[in-house]
Amino acid sequence: MDFSTKKEQFILSVLVANHFGVLTRISGLFSRRGYNIDSLNVGETENPETSRMTIIVTGDEYIKSQIVKQLGKLQEVMKVEMLPKEETVLREHLLIKINVSRETRSEITEAVNVFRGKIVDFNSDSVTVEINGEPSKLNAFIEFTKSYGIIEMCRSGALAMKRGANSL
């Protein structure tokens, strides 16, 4: 098979056994084989014996096919699926603490409303905002706040699920 060498971002959903060490095994596989993780998220599913990982990776078609196959070889990996972007709900969570002053407070509040975020903490010098959404929306908000000064921020990494009634 000939692979296209164009790089793109892709979303992997991986069902794994809820054992200790699984995360190390999977992240070890990525680093050992030189695959770059953009974000990784893991949490228990409705079945306490399994966890679900959402991994976002940038790479070409060769890397894409290798990742799926190499993950499939791990004993604790039960299922690997590449989620097509158009048919996927992708959500990320952002907490961001921004510098404010009396003059800038209202501008920031307005922006938070436009982005449908929430102010979860504030004092005279800072405000902490929580926003949910597609990573691109979060990026846009972060870009906007840069001029005010970001004190600290943290992002959850994306969660993803295919639309429709089927499951992984």
């Binding site: 098979m1 000939d2 692979f3 060490g21 190390t24 095994r25 070890g28 596989l29 050992r32 060769y62 096919s65 290798q66 196959k69 190499q70 499939g72 070889k73 791990l74 004993q75 604790e76």
Partner: protein
């Protein structure tokens, strides 16, 4: 039946059809060893001189017997000494179960005496690994370890067992040897498509590897090759799948392959790759690899398809199964022109053979070759001597070649040869080693002597790290940095010190006498063969090169 964890380990090993295990005792496996002592009429334990030797022995045992090899080591240094052996088994897909002791659960994570995180250390070099935290899971984890080790593409599995798990008791029910999980993806096997391509091909070439040995598909390979009238070339791991003296067996291909095999590999219009992984040592420059060929890749590991070489298409499954399917459908073919072309390559190859004087490696190898039968096990270490054996030795039997392919582990040979003796039911075993490689694990001579093994050790003694020296000759203007050993070790005296026997050989006459002596006794015998330090392994395709860059003389 309520048993201790230590006893459960031994019972499970016996239940899983383990007759011989290799290992080395210590504080955190002392209870396991106590149970081994009590069960010594049911399971045989071989103590090595070093855990690395035990791991290689378990590996050699597995390759020679087709069973799962088992090695036991204590925590900390015992466990870390296994690492090279485990990595070696991983890269060559050898089924191995490594059992290590560890500190009690409560002491884990506190940098306790002889504590290492062997699970963390071996994660990237095992198929899977475990640390047992509940004695109730012990037997099922060990059974899983055996299943994983031998299923699909085989490999090593490590089970780390803290001391208190060995002491705790629980109910044990004897089980049966676990079956391999069969993962032939029948729907993906497009036999008709292969048959069509074979029908259309004028120059088919079969490139066969370790997968054929592992799946015991040598007979099927031979039939298939004869049926479609194709020559067969081999990766290092595949060499013992087919009788070396068959006319369509072109032998090793790749960096130090035989000329005809390399040429056919490069000129073919249909490359049927079976149970190989297209390692860089086998392909060289991938862009110039078999430029005119459609490549069909048959392997049990889906991740190997299109990993190193872009194939025309891949077929996933057990190679024996697929070869049998092919044999049902494929019609006999004849390729007289292709055969003629190959015969020309063979003639060129033979014209370039080195002058076959007395102490030339080729002559030594051929002399030994004349003394063996189809049960004799051949082991090698790593270096020039390994390549000469791979090129010139005509192997006769299945599972008779033990060599470190993927990891290229100097020091593999002694342990592997010992394992080969046990795994083959005490058949005559010949180890070809180098003065450098032998130096790495020669203490295992003690193991060979204690166990009265019918082992002939042939040291191709060039006084140098020959393979590295060869690179220094060709690529580094003869700057022989740290490769001239010229040690004063007397290998014959050394053999005697270990309780073995030996002879030093500098000429043809002595060679005959030494071989005659070695093959007339059933105990370890060392033959120290003095050879020229400037003898090179040829042909050679420089790393990253192609057949265009081949160095012939």
């Amino acid at each position: 039946m309520k048993l201790t964890g230590a006893r459960i380990i031994i019972e499970t090993l016996i239940e899983q059809d383990c007759e011989t295990v290799f290992g080395y005792p210590g504080g955190f496996v002392i209870n396991i060893y106590d149970e081994l002592y009590k069960a010594s009429d049911r399971i045989h334990h071989v103590i090595s001189a070093h855990e690395q030797g035990a791991a290689h022995a378990a590996d050699g045992y597995a390759r020679a017997s087709g069973k799962v090899g088992v090695v036991i080591a204590t925590s900390g240094p015992g466990a870390t000494n296994l690492v090279t052996g485990i990595a070696n088994a991983f890269l060559d897909s050898v089924p191995l179960v490594a059992i290590t002791g560890n500190v009690p659960l409560a002491l884990l994570g506190r940098d306790s005496f002889q504590e290492v995180d062997i699970m963390g250390i071996t994660m990237p070099i095992t198929k899977h690994n475990y640390i047992v935290k509940d004695v109730n899971e012990l037997a099922s984890i060990l059974r899983d370890a055996f299943r994983i080790a031998k299923s699909g593409r085989p490999g090593p599995v490590l089970v780390d067992i803290p001391k208190d798990i060995q002491l705790a008791t629980c109910e044990y029910k004897p089980g049966k040897p676990v079956e391999k999980t069969l993962d032939v993806l029948t729907e993906q096997i497009n036999i008709d498509k292969i048959v069509e391509l074979i029908e259309a091909s004028n120059k088919p070439y079969i490139y066969s590897g370790g997968g054929v040995v592992i799946s015991n598909a040598g007979d099927e390979l031979k039939q298939f090759a004869e049926r479609i009238d194709a020559p067969v070339g081999f990766s290092m791991m595949g060499l013992s799948a087919m009788d070396g003296s068959l006319p369509n067996n072109l032998g090793l291909t790749g960096m130090h392959g035989r000329y005809a095999s390399i040429k056919a590999n490069s000129e073919t219009d249909l490359l049927i790759a079976i149970g190989v992984r297209f390692s860089d040592r086998a392909t060289g420059n991938k862009l110039k690899y078999s430029p005119n060929a459609k490549i069909i890749h048959i392997d049990i590991d889906p991740a190997e398809i299109d990993k190193n070489i872009n194939t025309y298409f891949g077929v996933i499954g057990d190679v024996k199964y697929i070869l049998n399917k092919l044999l049902e459908k494929v019609k006999p073919k004849k390729h007289p022109e292709w055969k003629e072309e190959i015969n020309r390559y063979i003639a060129d190859e033979q014209a370039n053979y080195p002058q076959n004087y007395g102490m030339h490696p080729k002559n030594i190898i051929e002399r030994v070759n004349n003394l063996i039968d189809d049960k004799t096990v051949i082991a090698t270490d790593v270096g020039q001597h390994q390549m000469w054996v791979a090129q010139y030795f005509k192997l006769k039997g299945r599972r008779t070649f033990l060599t470190s392919g993927g990891l290229g582990t100097m020091g593999y040979g002694m342990g592997a040869a010992i394992g080969g003796c046990f795994g083959s039911g005490n058949q005559r075993t010949v180890l070809f080693t180098g003065d450098g490689s032998f130096g790495m694990n020669l203490a295992e001579l003690a193991t060979a002597v204690s166990n009265n093994l019918p082992l002939v050790i042939i040291i191709m003694n060039n006084g140098v790290l020959g393979m590295v020296r060869q690179w220094q000759t060709i690529f580094f203007d003869e700057r022989y940095s740290s490769t001239t050993l010229d040690r004063k070790t007397d290998f014959v005296l050394l053999a005697k010190a270990f309780g073995a026997n030996g002879m030093r050989v500098v000429g043809e006459g002595e060679l005959s006498l030494a071989l005659e002596t070695a093959f007339s006794i059933k105990t370890p015998f060392v033959i120290d063969c003095v050879i020229d330090c400037d003898e090179r392994v040829l042909p050679m395709i420089p790393p990253g090169g192609s057949v265009e860059n081949i160095i012939i003389n």
